[in-house]
C-alpha cells in the first residue's frame, strides 16, 4: 500500500467520526497545553533570575580576591600572591575566555575649574571587550590604548569647583568626552591652601592629559568608576607612591585617600588584590569558580546566587511539571480509548479489508497514523493555546516567584516563557505519546482473525 493512500485513508477514517475525533484532539490539546505552560512557568522563573542577576553584573564573570594571599589553604598549601603569572595561569583554565587583574587607584581629575576624586580601575584592555561593560556613548577600551579612559555615568557628579565659597558642582550637561581632562596624583590639586596645612610647601605636580573615549551606561557596578588600561594605572600608581614618599616622608606621614596598595611599591611581587575572570559559557562558571577557589583565592560570581535560587525553586518546578505530565497522561488515555472504540466499531471493516488483501502492516499503519494525526493536531493546537495562555499570564503579571527578594520588581519580568525549543518539544511529545497510545489498539486490529471479524455485527 502506498504511503499517500494510507495517509488519506487514515484522515478519512478520522473525518467519519468528527465529533469523537474533535473531542480527542481537544483532550490532547489541553494535555499539551498543560505540560507546556507548566514548564514555561519554571523557565520564566529561571529566566527572571538570570535577567536580574545579569543586571547586577555579568553572570559569566568571576570576581577573584586575594585577601588571604600569603596564608595557607585548609589543606595546608601556601596561597601565592595574585601576580600576573598567576592570572595567566587562571586564564588557561578550561572554559575561561580571559582574565585580567584589577588595579585600583584613587586619583584626582580636573576638568576646567572643576575637580573631583576618581576611583580608577586598571584592567587589561584586551579583556575589557569581554566584560560586557555597557558603553552608552563613545567606545570601550581597546588594545593599544594608553592614556584613554572610559568613565562611569555618575563620575561627573564628583566634580565641583573648589575655589567657590559654596557648593558649586559641575553642570549637569558636562560632556567629559569633549572637555580637556587632566588627572593628577596630587590629591590636593586645585584646593585652596590654608596656612599651616600639611603639604602646603609641596612642589607642583604637572597633571597628565587624558582622553575620555567612552561613557559607561548605567550598570550598577561601574557608575562611579573610571576604567583605564592596566599599564597606565601601574605607572600612575608608582608616580603617586613616589610623590607621597617625598611629600609626607615614608609611611609615617599623613596619607590622604583610599590607598589600595599593599604598602610598598613592588606590585609585581606583591600581586594584585583583585582580578576578573570571564568564562565562555554559563555552564562552566561553577567549575571554573571551584578551581580558582582551590588555588586558595576568594572567588565570587552571581551564579552562586542563581544556583541557590534554582535550588529553592526546584521543588515548585517539579510540582508544575508533574501537573503537566498528569494532564498529558489523561489525554493519552483518551487517545487509546478513542482508538479502541473505533476498532470495536470497525471490526467487520477490518475483516473486509483483510480479505481483499490488506496486509498486517497496512492495518497497523492506518491505525497508528490515525493516532498520529490526533497527536499532531492536538500538539499544534496545544502549542497555540499555550502561547495564548502564556500571553495572558504575562499580561496580567501572574507570578509564581522568581524574584530576588531584595531587588525591586524589574520591568520585563515574565510569568511564562515559551522558547522555540519548548514549542517543538511539546508538539513532538504530543505526537510520540499519541503513537504510543495508538500502538496497543493497532496491534489488536492487526491480530483480529478474519473470520471472527467478519462474523461480528
Amino acid at each position: 500500500m502506498r504511503f499517500f493512500d494510507t495517509l488519506t485513508l487514515s484522515v478519512r477514517n478520522l473525518w467519519r467520526r468528527k465529533l469523537r475525533t474533535t473531542l480527542t484532539i481537544i483532550g490532547v490539546m489541553i494535555g499539551t497545553c498543560a505540560i507546556v505552560v507548566m514548564i514555561s512557568l519554571g523557565l520564566a522563573m529561571n529566566k527572571n533570575f538570570i535577567d536580574q542577576l545579569s543586571r547586577m553584573g555579568s553572570i559569566m564573570q568571576i570576581q577573584v580576591y586575594a585577601w588571604n594571599a600569603g596564608g595557607t589553604t585548609p589543606d595546608g598549601k601556601k596561597i601565592e600572591p595574585l601576580t600576573d603569572a598567576k592570572i595567566a595561569e587562571i586564564a588557561k583554565i578550561k572554559g575561561v575566555e580571559g582574565a585580567t587583574p584589577v588595579l585600583e587607584l584613587d586619583l584626582k581629575m580636573a576638568v576646567g575649574k572643576y575637580v573631583g576624586w576618581i576611583y580608577i580601575l586598571g584592567i587589561d584592555p584586551d579583556v575589557f571587550q569581554m566584560l560586557d561593560i555597557p558603553i552608552s556613548n563613545g567606545r570601550g577600551l581597546t588594545s593599544g590604548d594608553t592614556d584613554q579612559m572610559v568613565v562611569g555615568g555618575y563620575v561627573r557628579y564628583n566634580l565641583y569647583n573648589p575655589k567657590s565659597n559654596r557648593w558649586d558642582p559641575a553642570p549637569e550637561d558636562i560632556n567629559l568626552m569633549e572637555e580637556k581632562v587632566l588627572i593628577t596624583w596630587d590629591m590636593n590639586y586645585g584646593n585652596r591652601t590654608y596656612p599651616g596645612m600639611s603639604g602646603s610647601s609641596r612642589k607642583k605636580v604637572k597633571p597628565v592629559n587624558v582622553e575620555v573615549v567612552g561613557i559607561i551606561g548605567e550598570s550598577g557596578n561601574y557608575d562611579y568608576s573610571v576604567i583605564m588600561p592596566l599599564e597606565a594605572v601601574k605607572k600612575y600608581k608608582k608616580e603617586k607612591e613616589k610623590f607621597e614618599q617625598q611629600e609626607y616622608g615614608g609611611n609615617g606621614g599623613f596619607m590622604i585617600g583610599r590607598s589600595s596598595s599593599r604598602g610598598s611599591s613592588s606590585q609585581e611581587n606583591q600581586g594584585y588584590n583583585q582580578a576578573i575572570v570571564k568564562v565562555k559559557d554559563i555552564d562552566s562558571v561553577a567549575e571554573v569558580l571551584e578551581q580558582i577557589k582551590n588555588m586558595g583565592y576568594e572567588a565570587q560570581s552571581p551564579i552562586q546566587i542563581l544556583e541557590q535560587m534554582k535550588q529553592q525553586s526546584a521543588g515548585l518546578r517539579q510540582i508544575l511539571g508533574g501537573i503537566g505530565i498528569t494532564a498529558f497522561i489523561i489525554a493519552a488515555i483518551g487517545i487509546a480509548n478513542t482508538m479502541y472504540m473505533s476498532i470495536y466499531e470497525r471490526t467487520r471493516e477490518i475483516g473486509i479489508i483483510k480479505v481483499i488483501g490488506a496486509r498486517l502492516r497496512d492495518i497497523r499503519r492506518i491505525f497508528l497514523m490515525e493516532a498520529g494525526w490526533i497527536g499532531i493536531f492536538g500538539g499544534v493546537f496545544g502549542i497555540g493555546l499555550s502561547l495564548l495562555a502564556s500571553m495572558a499570564l504575562n499580561k496580567f503579571k501572574i507570578n509564581l516567584g522568581g524574584q530576588i527578594m531584595w531587588m525591586p520588581e524589574a520591568e520585563g519580568m515574565m510569568s511564562s516563557y515559551i522558547p522555540p525549543w519548548l514549542m517543538l518539544a511539546g508538539a513532538g511529545f504530543s505526537f510520540l505519546a499519541s503513537l504510543l497510545a495508538g500502538l496497543l489498539p493497532a496491534r489488536r486490529a492487526m491480530k483480529l482473525s478474519v473470520m471472527k471479524a467478519l462474523r461480528q455485527e
Partner: protein, 238 residues
C-alpha cells in the same frame, strides 16, 4: 486444462468443550482451471468452512491446499494477505462493502492495497463497474443502492485485480429470484471471459445450471460429484 486448486485429505476440527466437531472431514478435491464449481449441501454440512479454507481465510487442522503452485496452508499471515491481493477475489452473501466509500472507491480498494497508483486504479475500477452495469451508480454509497446493485459492486471488487480464482459464499442468498439469475449470469460470464476459476457455495439447487461441476457436501465429506453443463458457454457461444 490443468488443476488450479488441489485439496489433499483436508480436515477442519472445531472443539466445543469436550466434543470434537469435524466440519471438514478428510476431503480431497481437484478443481481445474476455468471451472465454475459449485459446493452444495444442507446447512451445517461444512461447505462454507471448506470454501474459507480453500480461500485461505481459515486454516485446516490437517491436510494440504495448493492453489497454482503455492501451498497456501504453509503461508504466514502476511504471505497469505499478499497472495489474496494478487490471486484471489471474494464475494460474500452480505456484500461486505465499506459503508463510507462510494461504489467506485469500494471497487478500487483492493488495488489500493496492491500499491496501484490512484489514476490507474480508478480507471480499472470504472471498467469493472461498467462491465457489471453500474456506470451511473459509481459515486453512490452502498446505503443508496439496492441489494442487487450492492452485490454487483461486490462482484466488480472481486474481479478488479484480475485474480486467478474467485470465491463466492452464498452470493445470491439475500437476493430475489430475478436478481439471483442476473447475478449468476454476470459472475459466470465474467469468469468465462477472463478465463478465471469460480468456486461458490450455495444451497439453491437451481443454480446448478450455471456450473460445470457440482460438489455435494454432507457432514464434512464429499457425497457426490456431478458434472453440470459441460462448458455450456462454449457451446452457447460457438
Amino acid at each position: 486444462m490443468s488443476a488450479i486448486i488441489t485439496l489433499d485429505n483436508v480436515y477442519r476440527i472445531f472443539r466445543m468443550g469436550q466434543e470434537r466437531i469435524y466440519a471438514v472431514n478428510g476431503i480431497s478435491l481437484t478443481i481445474e482451471e476455468g471451472e465454475i464449481c459449485c459446493l452444495q449441501g444442507p446447512s451445517g454440512s461444512g461447505k462454507s468452512t471448506l470454501l474459507h479454507i480453500m480461500a485461505g481465510l481459515d486454516r485446516p487442522t490437517k491436510g494440504s491446499i495448493t492453489i497454482g503452485n503455492t501451498r497456501i496452508d504453509k503461508l504466514s499471515e502476511n504471505q497469505l494477505a499478499l497472495f489474496r491481493q494478487k490471486h484471489i477475489g471474494f464475494i460474500f452473501q452480505s456484500y461486505y462493502l465499506i459503508p463510507t466509500l462510494t461504489a467506485l472507491e469500494n471497487v478500487a480498494l483492493p488495488l489500493t492495497f496492491c500499491g496501484v497508483p490512484r489514476s490507474k486504479r480508478i480507471k480499472m475500477a470504472k471498467e469493472l463497474l461498467e462491465a457489471v452495469g453500474l456506470k451511473d451508480r459509481m459515486k453512490h454509497k452502498p446505503s443508496e443502492m439496492s441489494g442487487g446493485q450492492q452485490q454487483r459492486v461486490s462482484i466488480a471488487r472481486a474481479f478488479v485485480n484480475n485474480p486467478k480464482v474467485v470465491f463466492a459464499d452464498e452470493p445470491t442468498g439475500n437476493l430475489d429470484t430475478v436478481t439471483t439469475h442476473e447475478m449468476m449470469q454476470l459472475m459466470t460470464s465474467l469468469a468465462y471471459e477472463r478465463k478465471q476459476t469460480l468456486v461458490m457455495v450455495t444451497h439453491n439447487p437451481e443454480l446448478s445450471d450455471y456450473c460445470t461441476r457440482i460438489v455435494r457436501v454432507r457432514d464434512g465429506k464429499i457425497e457426490k460429484i456431478e458434472n453440470g453443463r459441460d462448458n455450456g458457454y462454449e457451446t452457447e457461444n460457438a
